[in-house]
């Protein structure tokens, strides 16, 4: 097993862990954390593909690495927007979970308010 393959399996496990946390933790902040773990697992897989593409004297293929840098920045901006939404939700309703829509009455109430 090469070191790139080792980190590839590590990235696969991280994707599974992040997905599990995203599904099972009801608090929004924990979902955001799990989403970041999931994203970093995907980036790690990209990094493995980059490392395996080492050629022409370079240590790794630079194109997937540039994609990962772009991905990290975009993931941060998504996290920032999600956190701002969470803080606003908490200020308005005092909740830290997103309540599911229960019935049609609450939908009609929301429309008329």
């Amino acid at each position: 097993m090469s070191s790139a393959a080792l980190f590839g399996y590590c990235g696969a496990v991280l994707v599974g862990l992040g997905l599990y946390g995203l599904i099972t933790r009801p608090e929004v902040l924990r979902k955001i954390l799990s989403f970041n773990v999931l994203g970093s697992g995907v980036f790690l897989l990209f990094g493995v593909f980059a490392r395996r593409g080492a050629a022409a004297g370079l240590g790794a293929d630079p194109v997937p690495q540039a994609l990962v840098i772009t991905g990290i920045v975009v993931a941060f901006s998504a996290t920032a927007l999600a956190v701002a939404l969470l803080v606003r939700l908490n200020k308005e309703t005092g909740q830290i979970v997103v309540a599911p829509d229960d019935s049609e009455e609450s939908g009609e109430q929301g429309a008329t308010r």
């Binding site: 980190f7 992040g18 975009v74």
Partner: protein, 313 residues
Amino acid sequence: MTLVFACEVVLAGLLVAIATWTIVARTAFAAIVLFMVYGLLLAIVWVALSAVDVALTEAAIGGGVTSMLLMGAATRLRAPTTPVADVGLPLRIAAGLLCALVTVVLGAVVFFLPDVAPTLAPVAKDNLAASGLGNPVAAVLFVFRALDTLLEKVVLLLALVGVWSLASDEAWGGVPGLPVYARPGRILVFLAQILPPIGIIVGIYMFWAGASQPGGAFQGGTILAAVWLLTMMARLQDVPAINARWLRLLLVVGPTAFLAIGLAGFFIADSFLAYPPGIAKPLIIVVEATLTLSIGVTLALLVAGPPERLPQR
């Protein structure tokens, strides 16, 4: 099994353990601290994968600014009046099976990868000299796939507009609610006086060296954002109101310069975002310099959050 590979096995095991602990931690504070540790360990993994630019970005943005953002949010959240109900066991088991399936499929993808990997490294290396840069990742970011970088910068601005739009009506266009110390102690003020000059030098150096060594505009911009946030939190500078003209000018100077040079490519080179040979490197340096400034201001404002009060006259 060589010594280096044994160290990498330990590193990968530690990474998975910290990620698991982050997911199952009981308090939000513990989970965020663990996430910060996870980000820094991941930066070491990136170095082990020969991706030093990505390691710098991960340490700065993933392990630094994201954790700061999440910690600020965790301290601002009020505890709910009704306790949060945990999900039931059937959902946990179903989710566990689904995630195990996803992990196994991805592991199989890694296992069945072809022996000779397709790569664009020779193509990048051949065209590197024409761009005048020495860092292949910087060349990919600003020359070969410059459209991705331009759009990424626009996505950052869109996220900032989204965050600003969450202000309430009274505070529209006001001062962001970045948590600042009411009475900062002398030692925090000392740190906020001594660290920003060093941070500015390191940030500019990282952008400048990114042309030929690992580094770049994003990493340098993040350091500038971090030291600006530090001075604001220690109350050495006021948090600016978001309708301040100089602030909005700094935000747009980066993408505007990038877009202008890209459109000029229609006239002085072949196509959009093409650079004429000979002055490619000065143009890229101009783009990177303005982008560093804009990224610093944008990231700091993303952490500061939506406006919460009007500026006192």
